[in-house]
Symmetry: C3
Subunit: 310 residues, 3 copies
Amino acid sequence: MPLNKKDLLEIQELSSDDIKLIIDTAVSFKEVTGRDIKKVPTLRGKTVVNLFYEPSTRTRTSFELAAKRMSADVINIAVSTSSVVKGETLLDTARNIEAMRSDIIVIRHSAAGAPYILAKGLKSSVINAGDGCHEHPTQALLDMFTIREKKGRLDGLTVAIVGDITHSRVARSNIYGLTKMGAKVKVIGPATLIPLEVERLGVDVHYNLNEGIKDADVVIMLRVQLERQGKTYFPDIREYSMQYCLTKERLRFAKEDAIVMHPGPVNWGVEISPELSEDKSTVILEQVTNGVAVRMAVMYLLSGEKATAS
Amino acid sequence: MPLNKKDLLEIQELSSDDIKLIIDTAVSFKEVTGRDIKKVPTLRGKTVVNLFYEPSTRTRTSFELAAKRMSADVINIAVSTSSVVKGETLLDTARNIEAMRSDIIVIRHSAAGAPYILAKGLKSSVINAGDGCHEHPTQALLDMFTIREKKGRLDGLTVAIVGDITHSRVARSNIYGLTKMGAKVKVIGPATLIPLEVERLGVDVHYNLNEGIKDADVVIMLRVQLERQGKTYFPDIREYSMQYCLTKERLRFAKEDAIVMHPGPVNWGVEISPELSEDKSTVILEQVTNGVAVRMAVMYLLSGEKATAS
Amino acid sequence: MPLNKKDLLEIQELSSDDIKLIIDTAVSFKEVTGRDIKKVPTLRGKTVVNLFYEPSTRTRTSFELAAKRMSADVINIAVSTSSVVKGETLLDTARNIEAMRSDIIVIRHSAAGAPYILAKGLKSSVINAGDGCHEHPTQALLDMFTIREKKGRLDGLTVAIVGDITHSRVARSNIYGLTKMGAKVKVIGPATLIPLEVERLGVDVHYNLNEGIKDADVVIMLRVQLERQGKTYFPDIREYSMQYCLTKERLRFAKEDAIVMHPGPVNWGVEISPELSEDKSTVILEQVTNGVAVRMAVMYLLSGEKATAS
């Protein structure tokens, strides 16, 4: 069963079958990255371009490794260090990249919707690696892969997402994906950081951490964007962490075998207490490992039959 | 017939046979980049170093892809982000790179003549990727390749080059190349941006766009360097574009089947009217595609018999 | 005889047998880099990450080429241009890299000891590419390789190291290595730049260049860190060079066949007179060539049997 898509722009447009296919494929690729020789010829002779308008070591590196381990040629374009900045439009830049015969363009951009502009205008496959406050689909896919790996299923689970829900593309993609897969999602945070009418997405809202994570199988802690200066949605980082930092004690309110996730990088002591960093409940590094496998799966599936043939 | 050169420094030193050889070779490599698996072993085990003293996404990416598709190992060195800046001379830097056994060094530098210093001091092949206001030979080669592809020949054509002729290495390289290949070249721009005695290079000079492009088979629009602050050669960008922006209406003064070219990135509305961006006369993206093929051809030919043997 | 080490953190912990093994292995890899096709499959399917917290074109490029010529997948992470800077700890960053299944992490850091933190916390092999004022083991190994290549041995030689001994990780690593290998080491510089009680490391101290290099087989000139502003250990760069710049005339005080080395980049006229740049005594570029071979040898030996098998 193929994915039958040119692009991966959002979780919202995927069916539960699509999500299942991507996770199943990622399981195979995880086996590849566990081998002594982590290299397959799947994308040999293909060109993958990482077009990053926001800096990101982790996500760029994860896509770069995923592509290289499938033998693709990879080009990194970081916009702040390049001439793309000289008044050139996004689509112009992308068309020029495609004219060099790119096969896959991975884009991260601070503007929601930027990847759609590329997808519409280009024949290359476009993968959204995070667009503004909109979506970050591969993050949600690796999160769902990790949950399924640890819990054996997604259907029927209770997943709590904690933090700045309003500005989090990770939260948004996970809400779409997890509800599609039959999980119950609860969002938890200060009222100023919960979007109005978020219940319409099928989630419960809590403002108190202990109450919110009750009976949760999975707790996803979101990153507090300490570096976004000039924007203050909560009065004080210390006050935030007093109420919402996940500690061992607070985690007892969740199910006994609950797992703790975070898209990284963690501000230890702000979102999660350092005492949990080595705890068996914490699966943050496994998310990172699974991220490479999920990105390999997505690139493979978008490449379709051509990749399969090689 | 081999190229019999160690370096590609300028169009001026090439014979018309050399130019023909490079374009003919690029035709073959363009076929390679059109394949499903865009990879040949031509430069396997060779080391190509992109040494860029001026930022450039497009040109660097084009050379990087050209080298990777021929299976070379590629190293990017951007000088602003590196320690090369610490008072080290250009030749010292390059000798150190060569000591790591580089085969080809691609250099872009703001100083005219910089590539010659490397070529004289090094055994590696040196490719000029733009030196100050002097030459940008691979740009002219990809332009001539594109013209020949569209028009079937270069000999006997009329090519108009419009804009800041004085500071354009693209203009200079194209003037040398096109006149060698038997084309008639006309340069068009405000008097302040046309070099004194440019007629000595065998070109006609026009200050009026409509008059200048009369009977042109090809119109090459040069980029206005909006980002070079502190240097003002024309009073006002709006006034410039009123006189020299190519519109559909103005293009009617050229031949009916004239093609429009630009080295990119275009300032739409300044050099070329947006209405032309999707017009069939505009071949800017094909220039980009041909750029990779031309750079593959140049690297292949400079590598000589050794590459042929592999 | 295997190296039986996971990491290369310092010369101090190596035995003379270890050093001999690395140099012997580098001799083989130097032969590889001299071939027409400079590529072996030794590290195919392995992932090497260059994690540079200090900018360095030369060292990063040398490691990158070494890894690529052994067919590894290479990822470059320069911290100033990345999100690693956002309050994430070193070990967190490295654990995330390892979670992507890195095999070798090459780290340069301004803090002495940083590579040890990684080595203790990670399963990946860690290579110290320079940590603060502590050690730079691959530099000392390439220096010893170059000396042995030129002089046929290390044992019994007299090596003079000239400059800022106090802040030089190159000096420290060379002192440890050369004394282990049976060479006599003399350090020479202004009193303010010679560490107290450096004699305990088994070296002689001199403040006068001509006296210090007497009978030296090898003279290693250290780089003056012109770019470290705000720290002044000598009154004036001109006064420094008047006393310590190596000239042809001063070199006559060393043995007739003495060789001159420098870790690069040289400030010509400050540490070494330009008249020596083309002199046959100067082997600086051969150090650079040998650097790639030494780094290939280190990566190969740390990879152990797995690499041997492939």
